[in-house]
């Protein structure tokens, strides 16, 4: 696949989301601070970062669950950043979300069949019988017997509920699925079931995924490309394999070296980088490069000038982008798999 040629399905340009802080003299927090990226048709774009980095808010921006403070989001060629709720309706059919907590994202008083049917009813897709048949198909597709439609969410385990959430998201046959921490509440064996299901569905329906998660291992596993966020900004965006083999941003490097590793795993030799201190609060964002107080390579310029996301490496288009004044030198062009 020539990546540069593949169609862009979702484009975020300079997205900013600002929240007003309660009390405290109307201070504001920029949860998302100028994020631009493109999602290509059929790919999985991973968005990874620690708590408070703005990855979930960014997910809510591109699905328009919140209003943008600035910037634009273009979906299938339409600028959706200023559409009203009513105008968003037809768009929502094409772009669905899967949420983190399968316990709070399903209405406990609704039967599973009704939960999955709800989007179909809201969008008036077919009559009762057609809907019932489709619900049966959807449940079957995510691994349930259609006879389960009469049960309530509490009768299911966490992993099963997440599959119900996925069936609901698929009901309207969307082209993009934005999944916010879809497996982080699940045990590892159940997590694997859900990840495999998502992969199967992607190839079956040609879905495009935006996969938001804090778990780098999971993000690497599912993603074609990965955007790393820190304090509301993208600090690095690259092909998943390349990113994990050789990070260019010092934060990415620290993040990667912090993943607990299984003994015997064949991994690129990685220097242990233990960051000191905590992620600063977005309300108290450092000047210049937001990462500079914790960065081992920070110099004077990092304190004063915010680095822009720019291309590095051998490929100009579709290549790696990094926002750093002193990026880690990349190794010789990697031999890419055909």
């Amino acid at each position: 696949m020539t990546e540069a040629a593949s169609e862009v399905i979702l484009r975020a340009d300079g997205v900013v989301k600002q929240f007003a802080q309660r009390g405290a003299g109307r201070a504001t927090i920029k949860a998302v601070d100028g994020v631009s990226l493109e999602v290509r048709k059929g790919e999985t774009l991973g968005v990874v970062g620690e708590s408070g980095c703005g990855k979930s808010t960014f997910g809510q921006c591109i699905t328009r669950l919140v209003d943008l403070t600035a910037g634009t989001v273009e979906f299938e060629g339409t600028d959706i950043s200023k559409l009203s709720r009513r105008e968003m309706r037809p768009i929502r059919r094409r772009m669905q979300m899967v949420f983190q907590d399968p316990y709070s994202s399903l209405n406990p008083r609704m039967r599973v069949g009704d939960i999955v049917a709800e989007p179909l009813r809201i969008h008036k897709v077919g009559g009762d019988r057609a809907i019932r048949r489709q619900v049966g198909d959807l449940l079957d597709r995510v691994g349930f017997d259609p006879s389960m439609a009469g049960r309530y969410p509490h009768e299911f385990s966490g992993g099963q509920r997440q599959r119900i959430g996925i069936a609901r998201a698929l009901a309207l046959n969307p082209s993009v699925l934005v999944a916010d921490e879809p497996v982080s509440a699940l045990d590892v064996s159940v997590q694997a079931q859900v990840l495999n299901l998502l992969a199967d569905l992607q190839s079956e329906f040609g879905l495009t995924y935006v996969f938001i998660a804090h778990d780098l291992g999971v993000v690497e596993h599912v993603s074609d490309r990965v955007a790393v966020m820190y304090l509301g900004e993208i600090v690095e965006l690259a092909d998943a394999e390349e990113l994990y083999l050789a990070p260019a941003h010092h934060y990415t490097a620290a993040l990667l070296s912090a993943i607990p590793q299984l003994e015997g795993d064949e991994l690129p030799l990685r220097e242990q980088i233990v960051l000191t201190g905590d992620v600063p609060s977005p309300a108290d964002k450092p000047s210049g490069c937001a990462f500079h107080p914790r960065c081992p390579a920070a110099t004077e310029i990092c304190r004063v000038e915010r680095p822009t996301l720019r291309s590095v490496g051998e490929r100009e288009i579709g290549g790696r982008q990094v926002a750093c004044h002193h990026p880690i030198a990349l190794p010789m062009p990697a031999v890419r798999k055909q």
Binding site: A192, L195, H221, I259, P260, L262, E263, V279
Partner: protein
């Protein structure tokens, strides 16, 4: 030879034998821990791994007398330095807790009192168990905060828990647990609520302090990666029982139980990017349903008829006599061959 054996038992700090915890519910007795036996040596880090509901936390809580509920029955034995913990009068257990055995929990916010400063809480801990004066205890509290890497400990001792981040709160918890230099630290998912870079800091800290004080640590976690980084020995739990036990490298590199194979296979690995993950079909057994035979049998890809009737004992099945597993599959090289098919 009887002699080295005696030495071995005396080296164990904690010895647990056939521990059982059951809850009385409307659906009848529910077994959370169903005959767990293990020991922790002096200065050893024991990792206990298992998924939700495997009984790993319940086992520890029951030993520590934290399940004081008329509907909970705890039987079996847990000897700490030779003293029986199960059924120990609460007063004596209280003295042991905090003094000799300390515990840290997953959520440091709920484990700290929001209405007192962290310094006050550490001082209380110190004064309960020692006869230090208030002033000396305060100085010690500041020292402890410094030791666990809290910047500006003088000032931070006067802060309240909500003024700390999650990682910093966990450091406070660790400082508190170290207040009396315990011989055994039980850490229940201490890094699960934390970000990965903070998790790294806390694991480093536990390792550093463990080396410094020579304490033994029981680390309860669901994360094989965390186990692989810090544990000397590993117990894998399933349905309230240990199903595999051995040296960390043995269990991670040459696991012998099909459940452990599944657990390890389900972890995304860089070299298997985009390939399907190994999964364990089905769900963990409901504790309300008592199983005869191996509890993993309904989910096991290698299940045999006898698995449904015989409860497999935890014993060595290979060359390493300290590597135990509870499985009826053929042992030795034959088991290795089966594993290589799936993992």
């Amino acid at each position: 030879m009887p002699e080295p054996q005696i030495e071995e038992t005396s080296a164990a700090l904690l010895e647990v034998d056939d521990l059982r915890v059951s809850f009385r519910t409307r659906q009848g007795a529910v077994g959370a821990v169903n005959g767990l036996s293990f020991s922790v040596g002096k200065g050893e880090v024991l990792g206990v791994v298992g998924e939700s509901g495997s009984g790993k936390s319940m086992a520890m809580y029951s030993m520590m007398g934290l399940l004081a509920d008329p509907n909970v029955t705890v039987t079996g034995s847990a000897r700490f330095r030779g003293q029986e913990l199960i059924g120990m009068p609460p007063k004596r257990l209280n003295r042991l807790r905090g003094n000799d055995i300390a515990m840290i929990f997953q959520d440091p916010m709920t484990a700290l009192t929001p209405v007192y400063t962290v310094g006050w809480q550490i001082v209380e801990q110190i004064r309960t168990h020692t006869d230090l004066s208030r002033e000396d205890a305060w100085a010690r509290a500041v020292e402890l905060l410094d030791e666990v890497g809290i910047p500006d400990p003088q000032r931070r001792a006067r802060s309240y828990p909500h003024e700390f981040s999650g990682g910093m709160r966990q450091r406070v918890m660790i400082a508190m647990s170290l207040a009396c230099n315990p011989a055994l630290l039980i850490a229940d998912e201490p890094t699960t609520a934390l970000d990965v870079t903070t998790q790294r800091q806390i694991l480093e800290l536990i390792r550093k302090l463990q080396a410094r004080y020579g304490s033994s640590v029981i680390l309860i976690t669901h994360d094989m990666g965390v186990i692989s980084e810090i544990a000397d020995r590993v117990i894998v739990m399933y349905a309230g029982r240990a199903i595999e036990e051995g040296d960390r490298s043995e269990v991670v590199r040459r696991p012998r139980h099909p459940y452990t194979w599944g657990l390890l296979g389900a972890i995304p690995r860089p070299e298997r990017r985009k390939l399907p993950l190994a999964t364990i079909p089905g769900l963990p057994p409901k504790p309300t349903v008592t199983t005869v035979g191996c509890a993993f049998a309904p989910r096991c890809p290698f299940v045999m008829d006898k698995c449904r009737t015989i409860l497999p004992p935890l014993e060595a099945s290979g060359a390493d006599i300290d590597h135990l597993d509870a499985c009826l599959l053929p042992g030795g090289a034959e088991r290795e061959a089966i594993r290589k098919e799936v993992l």
